[in-house]
């Protein structure tokens, strides 16, 4: 479907990658840990190593949770756009095929939040 309009209706999107000063948007959520009310959005250079995302950037955001210290990235699984995704920790976001405004979901089976409430 398309918008109904009297004249041509063609306006640029507000969030194209060129507007982020060399960075790109990346959304990351941690399944079963709703204590973080929503996934986070980051603005990162595509050259960020995946390992740095996990160990530094996500740690800063999720570190408050008592489960975070027990996350084992060698066993964690990921979804990208809802599909299974196997990142290489030693490659960059771009080399892993992660693009602007992608959404990643981190899954850590066995960790089910505060008192098993998925919080």
């Amino acid at each position: 479907m398309a918008v109904q309009a009297l004249k041509d209706y063609d306006f640029p999107p507000a969030d194209t990658v060129d507007k982020f000063h060399g960075g790109m948007l990346l959304n990351v959520g941690w399944d079963d840990h709703l204590m973080f009310c929503a996934p986070f959005v980051y603005c990162l250079p595509p050259s960020t190593p995946f390992r740095e995302l996990c160990e530094k950037i996500l740690s800063h955001s999720f570190g408050y949770h008592p489960d975070w210290a027990r996350v084992d990235f060698s066993k964690a699984t990921w979804l990208k756009s809802g599909q299974p995704f196997v990142p290489d920790m030693n490659k960059t976001l771009a080399e892993n095929g992660i693009g602007h405004k992608d959404a990643l979901r981190l899954q850590t089976p066995g960790l089910t939040g505060i008192a098993g409430s998925f919080s």
């Binding site: 999107p13 000063h21 709703l34 973080f36 756009s81 959404a103 008192a115």
Partner: protein, 515 residues
Amino acid sequence: MDMQVAKKKLSLKEKYKLLTRDLGWDTTYHTKDEVFPYVKYEGIKVHDWDKWEDPFRLTMDSYWKYQAEKERKFYAIIDAHAQNNGHLHITDARYLSALKIFLQAISPGEYAAGKGFARMGREFPGVGTQVACQMQSIDEIRHAQTQIHALSNYNKFYNGFHAFADARDRMWYCTLPRSFFDDALSAGPFEFMIAIGFSFEYVLTNLLFVPFMSGAAYNGDMATVTFGFSAQSDEARHMTLGLECIKFMLEQDPDNLPIVQKWIDKWCWRGIRVLSLVGMMMDYMLPKRVMSWKEAWEIYFEQNGGALFNDLARYGIKVPDCVAQCTEDKEHISHQAWATFYQYGGAAAFHTWMPNDDEMDWLSAKYPNTFDKYYRPRFTYWREQAEKGNRFYSNTLPMLCQVCQIPHIFTEPGDPTKTCYRESEYKGEKYHTCSDGCKGIFDNEPEKYIQAWLPPHQIYQGNCFPEGTDPTVEGFDPLAKVLEWYHFDQDNLDFEGSRDQKNFDMWRGMATKNT
């Protein structure tokens, strides 16, 4: 001597006829289509504009008379409230947060509705419609004004009230009602009427006003109760206009039905998303509760709204598709919304807190299916951490829905343990939505929603700092600059330890104690 014969006084109906008689002339220099260019492109077919009657037939002189009377009463009470330190008669200073979110998020919506109806008064060709829309426009501006005046008394004493006008444009959670009204204002006149006149004013208004005004009454706030009453008598007129409009569209041509149904589906969903704010206000922000969000939903939507849709069934209108989802959501959204504001309380212009034991028990009793299972463990943990000096504040910006602009806080249908993710692609760009409802709206008009002003994205683009900010200087702190741009002055963070809490306790103590 000639006898003066008193002229017969005109009846209201006659006055109305004279008022509107000359407004509906036939144009000669320009065609009707040129004078009213917006009434056809949405696809609504109208064969006879005269069929749209203004059921109130209110003339200007009686309109001014009624409104002036209400204003006199309103300002008398507001004066008394100010002179008697009415701000100290509220139950507890936590209640102020409910007023702050009302002023920041709802009053600008009244003003936006005023703008919208002023435009509709020009864009619709029917005379009855034009007059009714113009009066509603003045009403809406009056509502915004009386709300601002009533709450200005609180602004003399407390934080969070002083920057509501800029908050409308800047504050991350104010973009949620703002985007709702901008979406309606940028639609055609018929869609606007379904969005605001029907879905919001008719189907959902009781869920907005009754909780706030009853909440004010329960919590000793006469100022807010008074503006509620002053606005309420206008609402009957607004609701009738909304209902007249929908019946008019449906009676004019059978081809209008699918278009109208699509708009009802869209705008009920969008309106209900905005009402998440009201849900958390009822369940968490009122020290003295009126009823739970779930109970309000059952009375005002499921029962009253159900009756309305039964009424419209004869035109072929169905209850919006989203109702099944909403029935599930009524058990969750207020808790999900409050958890969001609690953790982003560093960037909200009102105070947040965790419920005490009594309040947790009230929530358990009102939400036996969900509160203890999903939310109490989280809230209890946060409270314990706060008591240890480790109060939880999220330190990273949240992912937002492209349509409703609420962070992705809602859960999968059927599974309240999993965040709901929906994704669309349009011209090579990805867009995320929080639900099937919002994804459907996006996919239907992607050209519109790709322009959304999403606060986290705008912050990362560098558009949310005070003028002249240089983000490249050594030690630049983006969050501090964003809060400066929001005009924060101790408006944020937990209620515990806030200046509002201290001042309220001190002033009330002076009024009730001798030391």
